[in-house]
Amino acid sequence: MKPAPFVRHVPRTLQQALAMLSQLAGQDGRILAGGQSLVPIMAFRLAKPAHLIDINEIAGLDRLDSDGTALTIGARVRHAAFHGPAVDNPLAALLSYVARHIAHYPIRMRGTFCGSLAHADPASEWCLTAATLGATMIAKSQRGEREIAAADFFEGIMSTALAEDELLAEVRLPLLAADAKFGFNEFSRRAGDFAMASSLVTYRVADGKISEARIGVGGAESSPRRIEEAESALNGQPPGDPAFRAAALAASDAVDPLEDHQTNAEYRRDLVRAVVRRALEHSLT
C-alpha cells in the first residue's frame, strides 16, 4: 500500500495550474485536491498517476460566496466549510445537514466539495446535492472556460464531462426560495460509510399543495439524478404520508439499481423506497 512513483507539482496561481494541466494531462497528470479519494486509490495502486498537480496553494480557489441567486463554491472549499451556515439562505441548513453525513470529521477537514464532484462516486452526498439542486459547474482549462449543467456533468461511475485538461474551478448552487422545504436521508451499514442509497428532496407548498418538487436519489444508480416519476407523484399533492409513500414507490420503480456483493437489485430498490420516504418525512421536521 505504498503508491507508485509520482512527481508532485505545486502551482501558486490558477494560470500555472492550467498550464501544467494542459502539459501533463496527457502524461497521466491529475489534480490533487483534498486527497481523500485519490490518495487511498494510489495507495492501493488502483491509480498510478505520474504527476500530481496540487491545487492547495492556489489563492482564489477558496471562494465561498453568494451573489443573491447562487452560492459559488471554489475548488479549495472543504466539506467542513459547511458544518456551520455558509450562506444566509435555507440552502445553508441543507448543506450543513448533508455535510454531517460525509465520511468522518478528519476527512471532512481535508476533502473538497469540487473534488467530490470531479471524483463522481455514485454515493457521494455532494454529487447528489449538485444533481438535485441543478448546480452549474465551471470548468477551466488553457483552452478557456465553460459551464456544464449538473444533468450533463455526471456520466457514470467515477466519470464526468470534464476533459483531461479541465479543472473544476467552481460550482454554483442555486439558492433556495425562502419558504423552501428540504429533507435528506441515507442508509449505510456504519456511520460515515458511503451510502447504499440516499435521497435529497426540496419543494415548496402553496395552498396546501406541493410544488416545484425535486427528488434526487444517490448511491443507487451509476450517477445520482432527479427522479421525474417521483416528483410527478408529489407535485400537486398535500405533504403527508400518502403522497410521500407514492413518491417513494415511484422512485424505487424508476431506478436502474447498481448491484454489488452486499446489495442486489431488489434490496437496492427497497433502500431507495426507504430513503426517499424518510427524506420526505424529514422535510416536515
Binding site: 512513483p5 492501493f44 442508509f187 456483493h261 452486499q262 434490496y267 427497497d270 423506497r273 426507504a274
Partner: protein
C-alpha cells in the same frame, strides 16, 4: 505470611499507559536498524493454480532491489509446524513459507523482494511475473468430499467426541429439535498490522527478531529449528503490540522469511504488513456450518445432543491445526446438563485464506449453535428463553462438573460455578420484567423490538506451567520477569498488583518484563485467557518466596526474628512499631544479588469462568438494519485482580462479537477472489456502532484450582454475542428460529422479512 491485599481487587490505573500516552510506544514499525533491507511479499493473484514458473528478471533490474527469493531459495526450510492440537493426519496440509508447486489461495506468498526501501520493494514486487495455470477453486466446505488438488483431499480429518448413549436418548425422546446454522468467516483485525524485523549479529552469532507477540518462546524454538539454528543463539523480542486477538503472533511465512534472509544476507530485514495484505494473509477464523439435533423430554430438558459440522479452514492447516474445531466440539455443551452428546467436526479445505484462532475460538461458533438450540427448544415446549435455560442449567451442587470431554490436552472439568445465580443477577441488572413489558407494549404499537438471553461457559488458564522470577535491584526497584506476552491486555499492571501485595511495595514501582526470550528461558506466552491465572499465581508464588528471603536476610541485619518483621510500602519494619527500620534499597545494597526468587506454577486443568449476555434490539423493517438498544453482560471472574481491566476486556470483546454478528464478513466470489480487502468492504464496528453497555462482574465462584481463585477475562465479551443478537432479533420478529446465519446483514434480514411476509 502475606500482608492483606492493598492492590489486588482494585481498579488501579494501568502502568502501560504512560509511555503510550506520551508517544513513546515502540510498535513493530518503529523498530529500524541501519542498513536494513525491506521485504515485500509477492502474493498469488489466483485462488488455485499450478505454479509453472516465476520470472524475477525485470524486478531485479530495478535500482535499489537487492534480491528476490522464490521457492528454490527456501527449499531447505520445512513447512510451518503445529503449535496446538496437531493431529498427525493434518501434517501434509501445513503451509510452506513460499508456494511450491501449487498456489492455494489469493494472497499466498509466492516470492519475496528485498529492496532499499518499502516503495521500491513494492514497485519491484509488481514486476515479478508469475506463470500460473489456473485451476477450479473449492469454495464451499460442506457437501461431498473430493480431491483438493493432485496431492490433497478436501477433508483431512474429522474431530469426533462423544459420551453417553445418544441413540437411546433420541429413541426415547418426547421431541427432537433440528437446526441448520452457520457462522460467517471473520477474524481479529488488530489496529497494528503484523511486522517482523530480523537482525543477525555475526560477532556474537545471535539472530534476533523484533515484532514478536503472543508466544515468543515457542516461536523462537521453532523458527530456529526451521532455519537450522540452535534455540540458544536466537531471540524473539516483543515491543508494544497493538492487539493480538489470537491471530497476531503465531508463526507465519513472513516471520520465517525475515529470519532466514537476515541470516543469509547478513543484513537487517524489515517487513511491515499493510492492511490489504493483513485482510488476506493473516489468519481468518470462525466459518462453520452446523447440523444439530437435540432430543428433549416434555418439559424441555435436554436428553442428548448430536451435532455434525463443517469447519472451513481455508487452504492450509496453520499453527493451530485442529484447535478451533476441537474447541467448538468440546465446549458446545456449555452450562447445561447434556446427558448424552456426540459431535463430528469435519475439517474442510477451501481455496481461501487459512484459519486460526480468534478470541473465543470455537466458542463463538458453538455458543451460537447451542443457544439457538435452547431457544428452539423453548419455542417447541412453549416456554420463554429464560425458563428453558433455568430448567437445563448445571446446578451449583454438581460442581466440580466433569464433562467427560477433552480439549487442548486437558480433561474438561468445570471447576466452580453458580450459573443460575448469575442468570438472576444479570436479569436483575437488565431490569428484565420491565424490559419485557415495555417491549411488548411497543410491539403492540407496531415496532419490531425484542430481547434475548444467551449463556456460556468460558475456559481459561491453560497450563501446563508458568515460571516467574522476582528481583529487588540495588536501586530498590522490583523487577518481575515473566514468560508471558503483552498484547495490550494489561499484563504489567495485573502482575504488578499481585507482586506488590505479596512484597509490600507500591505496584507502580514494579517493572514487569514480558515477551523477551533473552530474559527468561521458558515462557508459554499470552493466549487462551491464561496469563492472569497462570502467570499471576506464579508471580504470587515467587513474590511470597522473595518476601520470605527478604525478611530472613533483614532479620539477620536487624538482629531480630523474621516473624517480627513486616514490609510496608517498601520499608522493612518491626510489627510492634518499635526500633529502627530499613528500606528494601538498603537491604538490596547490603546483600547485592541475593534478593531474587523464582517459582513455578503448574496446572493440568483449565479454569472455567462463565457469563450471561442480554440484548434488546430494534429492527428497521424498511432497510433490514438492526439497532441495539440495550446490552447487559454478567460475568463471573472468580476473583478480579483489577475490575476495570476485566471490564475493558469484556467491552472490547463485545465490540468484536458484534462485528461477527452484524457487520464483519470475508466475502469471496465464485472464483475465489476475496472481496473484503479494505476497511470499506470489511466492516469493523466503530464507536458509533457499539452500544452503551452495562457490565456486571461477579466473584461468586472463585476457582478452587489456584489460591487467589482467579479465572480469565479475555474471551467472555465476545463468546455469545452472535447467539444473543440472533435471539433478540427472533424475539423482535416474534418468530423463533428465524436467524440461522451470521452475520445478520441488512440485506439478509430484509430478505427474510419479505420471505416471511413480515414486510
Amino acid at each position: 505470611m502475606t500482608a492483606p491485599a492493598k492492590f489486588v481487587g482494585r481498579s488501579v490505573p494501568r502502568l502501560e499507559d504512560r509511555p503510550l500516552l506520551l508517544g513513546q510506544g515502540r510498535f513493530a514499525a518503529d523498530i529500524s536498524f541501519p542498513g536494513q533491507w525491506h521485504m515485500r511479499v509477492v502474493r498469488s493473484p489466483v485462488a488455485h493454480g499450478k505454479l509453472q514458473g516465476i520470472n524475477a528478471a525485470a524486478a531485479l533490474t530495478l535500482p535499489g532491489v537487492h534480491a528476490v527469493w522464490t521457492r528454490d531459495n527456501v527449499a531447505h526450510i520445512p513447512p510451518i509446524p503445529f503449535r496446538l492440537t496437531g493431529l498427525v493426519e493434518l501434517e501434509p496440509y501445513r503451509q510452506p513459507i513460499l508456494a511450491n508447486d501449487y498456489v492455494r489461495y489469493v494472497g499466498e506468498p509466492v516470492a519475496v523482494v528485498f529492496a532499499a526501501d518499502p516503495y521500491i520493494a513494492e514497485d519491484a514486487a509488481e514486476l515479478v511475473e508469475l506463470n500460473i495455470e489456473t485451476l477450479a477453486p473449492v469454495m464451499h466446505a460442506s457437501g461431498d468430499t473430493g480431491p483438493f488438488d493432485a496431492e490433497r483431499a478436501t477433508e483431512p480429518s474429522i474431530i469426533r467426541k462423544s459420551y453417553g448413549d445418544v441413540d437411546a436418548a433420541f429413541n426415547a425422546a418426547h421431541a427432537i429439535v433440528t437446526l441448520e446454522l452457520s457462522i460467517g468467516r471473520h477474524s481479529g483485525v488488530p489496529l497494528e498490522t503484523r511486522g517482523a524485523i530480523a537482525r543477525y549479529d555475526e560477532a556474537r552469532d545471535i539472530l534476533e527478531m523484533h515484532g514478536a507477540a503472543k508466544v515468543p518462546w515457542w516461536n523462537r524454538d521453532h523458527i530456529a529449528k526451521m532455519i537450522g539454528r540452535s534455540r540458544t543463539n536466537m531471540h524473539l523480542l516483543e515491543g508494544h503490540v497493538g492487539g493480538g486477538f489470537g491471530i497476531r503472533g503465531e508463526i507465519y511465512p513472513e516471520d520465517v522469511l525475515v529470519c532466514a534472509a537476515a541470516l543469509h544476507f547478513k543484513k537487517p530485514v524489515k517487513w511491515i504488513e499493510d492492511r490489504r495484505e493483513h485482510l488476506i494473509a493473516a489468519n481468518h477464523s470462525r466459518q462453520q456450518q452446523h447440523n444439530i439435533r437435540a432430543a428433549i423430554d416434555a418439559a424441555g430438558h435436554i436428553l442428548a445432543i448430536d451435532d455434525k459440522f463443517y469447519h472451513d479452514n481455508g487452504a492450509y492447516m496453520r499453527t493451530h491445526a485442529a484447535t478451533v474445531p476441537d474447541l467448538a466440539a468440546a465446549m458446545l455443551p456449555g452450562p447445561y446438563r447434556v446427558p448424552a452428546y456426540r459431535v463430528a467436526g469435519h475439517i474442510r479445505l477451501t481455496n481461501k485464506t487459512p484459519c486460526g484462532t480468534y478470541r473465543a475460538p470455537g466458542r463463538y461458533e458453538s455458543s451460537f449453535v447451542r443457544e439457538r438450540v435452547l431457544d428452539a427448544i423453548a419455542a417447541k415446549v412453549g416456554i420463554d428463553g429464560v425458563e428453558i435455560r433455568r430448567r437445563n442449567l448445571i446446578a451449583k451442587s454438581a460442581m466440580p462438573y466433569d464433562l467427560h470431554l477433552e480439549t487442548l490436552g486437558t480433561h474438561i472439568v468445570y471447576d466452580s460455578g453458580d450459573y443460575a445465580l448469575l442468570l438472576d443477577k444479570t436479569l436483575e441488572r437488565a431490569g428484565w420484567p420491565a424490559l419485557q413489558a415495555s417491549l411488548k407494549k411497543r410491539r403492540a404499537a407496531g415496532e419490531m423490538v425484542g430481547a434475548g438471553v444467551a449463556m456460556f461457559v468460558e475456559k481459561s488458564g491453560l497450563g501446563p506451567s508458568d515460571t516467574v522470577r522476582v528481583e529487588i535491584k540495588n536501586d530498590g526497584k522490583v523487577e518481575v520477569v515473566t514468560g508471558v506476552a503483552s498484547i495490550g491486555q494489561g499484563v504489567e499492571t495485573a502482575m504488578a498488583q499481585i507482586a506488590a501485595d505479596a512484597l509490600g511495595v507500591d505496584y507502580a514501582t514494579i517493572n514487569v518484563v514480558h515477551g523477551q526470550t533473552d530474559r527468561i528461558d521458558q515462557g508459554a506466552g499470552a493466549f487462551a485467557s491464561r496469563v492472569t491465572v497462570m502467570c499471576g499465581e506464579a508471580t504470587r508464588l515467587a513474590s511470597v518466596k522473595l518476601r520470605g528471603k527478604v525478611l530472613r536476610l533483614a532479620a539477620e541485619l536487624m538482629q531480630t526474628d523474621a516473624a517480627a518483621l513486616d514490609i510496608i510500602n517498601g520499608e522493612i519494619v518491626r510489627r510492634d512499631n518499635t526500633g529502627p527500620s530499613m528500606t528494601l534499597t538498603e537491604l538490596a545494597q547490603a546483600r547485592p544479588g541475593d534478593l531474587s526468587a523464582e517459582d513455578t506454577f503448574l496446572s493440568s486443568h483449565m479454569v472455567y469462568p462463565y457469563g450471561v449476555h442480554v440484548a434488546a434490539v430494534k429492527i428497521d423493517s424498511d432497510t433490514g438494519g438492526v439497532a441495539i438498544e440495550r446490552y447487559v453482560i454478567g460475568y463471573d471472574i472468580g476473583k478480579a485482580v483489577n475490575p476495570r481491566l476485566v471490564e475493558s476486556q469484556i467491552a472490547g470483546g463485545l465490540a468484536q462479537g458484534l462485528g461477527g454478528a452484524l457487520l464483519e464478513e470475508f466475502v469471496y466470489d465464485d472464483n475465489g477472489e476475496p472481496l473484503s480487502v479494505t476497511f470499506a468492504d470489511y466492516l469493523m464496528p466503530t464507536s458509533r456502532e457499539v452500544p452503551q453497555m452495562s457490565i456486571l462482574i461477579t466473584e461468586d465462584a472463585p476457582s478452587p484450582l489456584n489460591p487467589m481463585g482467579l479465572k480469565g477475562a479475555g474471551e467472555g465479551g465476545a463468546n455469545p454475542v452472535g447467539a444473543v443478537i440472533a435471539a433478540a432479533i427472533d424475539d423482535a420478529l416474534q418468530r423463533p428460529g428465524t436467524i440461522a446465519e451470521l452475520p445478520v446483514t441488512p440485506q439478509r434480514l430484509k430478505s427474510i422479512l419479505k420471505k416471511t411476509g413480515l414486510r
